[in-house]
Symmetry: C2
Subunit: 202 residues, 2 copies
Amino acid sequence: MSPAKRSAEATARLRASLIEHARQLIAREGASALTTRALAAEAGCAVGLPYKIFADRRELVTAIVDAELDQLRAACAELVQSAGTGTVGGNLTRFATAFLDSPAIALSQEIFADAALRQAVADTAENGGMGPSAFPDVLSRYLTAEKQAGRVAAHVDEHAFGYLIASTLHNLLIAGKEWPHPTRPALEQMLTATATAIAAGQ
Amino acid sequence: MSPAKRSAEATARLRASLIEHARQLIAREGASALTTRALAAEAGCAVGLPYKIFADRRELVTAIVDAELDQLRAACAELVQSAGTGTVGGNLTRFATAFLDSPAIALSQEIFADAALRQAVADTAENGGMGPSAFPDVLSRYLTAEKQAGRVAAHVDEHAFGYLIASTLHNLLIAGKEWPHPTRPALEQMLTATATAIAAGQ
């Protein structure tokens, strides 16, 4: 193995390690805690090191989102597979929670306020097959599967409801504090009420 | 009447005129058309005049939103009064259209991207009784009235649906072009499908 190759591998390992530490930092203390100094402290490295790996904060944030795409993809797959098991309200709530609790999501206000960053993140998500339209789509597919399982009424338009629910979650990500944000129990109650309203046999 | 009094009145008239011209300009050509130069041309005044009335663009934008609050209030009142008439889907669509077509709304991307402006607009709307939580509330009240009119099923949670529909509209205002925006006919179809799903006797 050439020294150049080792160096590239070491850089890749360091990059992955910094991203993982950044995700832990955000998960524990929120997006505002993600400073270069705090990240260096979390990772136990020199303060200047993150700057050598990521050209700027945009590159770091985009890398964090990229690393989160696997988790979001898994949450989407789990939602569709959950059709016919548990309760519809419970399945929707588990998906909503995974979506809203993602460290990538904690960065959404920052991403949204910066047009260049927003475009970079949208491109990254799109390339990973998780662009914004993936969310209405996966909710529609889940509701279609629940129709087939006999738990959503046949007359319900699953595309309309997939879009309504995805829009509500997306709005919670990007809306400021002026918008009324429900507590998690209130969100669960709302999604359960939605599931009840569209249940078969109502 | 003292000259000072006349001058204040003339300034107020000029201010109101500039706001009205700004609203017409936005309604006709979109938010990006609102430049000081274009506004002066629209109002037929000197290019420097808007700067004498509005300290900066934030002040102009906040004044436009303030002027729109009456229209939004009227749309809310009309929605609640429409319960029991026409169709539920049609009433929701008329409200959604009034909300999304408001010139104040055309400015929402700009407002959202600027934290200070966002706060100023939120305060203005809140003071006018039209803060963001007014929208889930008015939709809930409308659905309650439709329940009483026998057109929404008794088991439907109108707070959940008021929040879902308001969130979907709010998300359309603030989400970027990455988010899938329905055409107006698709929006009407979606709201009609929602109304069908929660209709009494389904």
